[in-house]
Subunit: 187 residues, 2 copies
């Protein structure tokens, strides 16, 4: 794949910057709108991102990468239960803090192959960390390993229903997660 032309790269960055701003302030992402705000033609935006979702995924990628990196690291940690716990904490924090993460992690339609790969990794990490904690006898066996990621999304969703400012959301998310973990933990 030949490198991008200079102007194309500049426009790409502009689009991402504008989109990041819009997402952060909760404005719904509309490609025509992004184009106008970035001072670009609609065609330009659509060439870089075939769909709103593709743009959203690009926005969320850095955060997703950080999260999966942490997950891989957690796999080698000493205490399996603690490793699972912090991984889940990071996961909900990310979703509650960044509106893009919620939509990307929850969405089933895949726009960008790279992001899809990351999502699968995240799912796999959830399963693996869970399995490790379970095999160490730290976890109730009624729960399935595939339940982990959906449950995190559920918590994030529940927090968003409250509609409070970011900081409160993190607190609430921790409270929800703590309750769930208490139920998860082998007594």
């Amino acid at each position: 794949m030949t490198p991008l032309r200079k102007d194309a790269a500049r426009n790409f960055d502009r689009i991402v910057a504008v989109a990041r701003e819009l997402v952060d302030q909760g404005t719904p992402l509309q490609l025509n709108d992004v184009a106008r705000r970035a001072g670009l033609g609609v065609g330009t935006v659509y060439r870089h991102f075939a769909t709103t979702e593709a743009l959203l995924e690009t926005i969320a990628t850095p955060c997703l990468e950080t999260l999966t990196a942490h997950g891989h690291h957690a796999l080698t940690a000493d205490n399996p239960w603690h490793a699972l716990r912090t991984f889940l904490e990071r996961t909900v924090e990310a979703q509650v803090t960044d509106p893009a993460m919620v939509k990307v992690v929850a969405s089933t339609t895949d726009a960008l192959p790279h992001t899809t790969e990351l999502k699968h990794q995240l799912q796999a990490l959830g399963k693996a960390l869970f399995a490790r904690a379970r095999d160490a006898g730290h976890v109730r066996t009624t729960v399935h390993d595939g339940d982990i990621v959906p449950l995190m999304c559920g918590i994030a969703y529940a927090v968003h229903l409250h509609g409070h400012p970011t900081h409160d959301r993190v607190t609430t998310a921790h409270r929800y997660l703590d309750t769930l973990l208490e139920g998860l933990h082998a007594s």
Copy 2:
């Protein structure tokens, strides 16, 4: 308010029937679409239901009423913990079974006053049943009473992410709820 004219009542029922069917089979609710399928003009539909949400709320009302009725009944039950538990079970079951319930209970925008009232009742019932269980010493005190309904919505949401058929969804929902309740329950 004067009673509806005979034709108006008939059309109202047709619209509701068509909408119910669409919602049940997962088709997105679109008023123009409903009009076409009901063999009515668009204007007719819009006169009865100013917005998609209003129609959705009408669809969900019976289920909501059943749920709040059960909640009121549970308030007088012997065992506060058991009362809370079954109320929450009914709540998630309703949301997982009926697509309309999810959207209505979760939505913050209020279209119909009656439904809004019911939603507030549901919220209040969650709080009251929780408080009763807590005062009886059955519940960990880290959880807030306002967390109850959002958490139920979160579970319903998590279940829907799995995308499985109705019966499996109920099973999954129970598993999630059990885990959460385990964490809620005073040890």
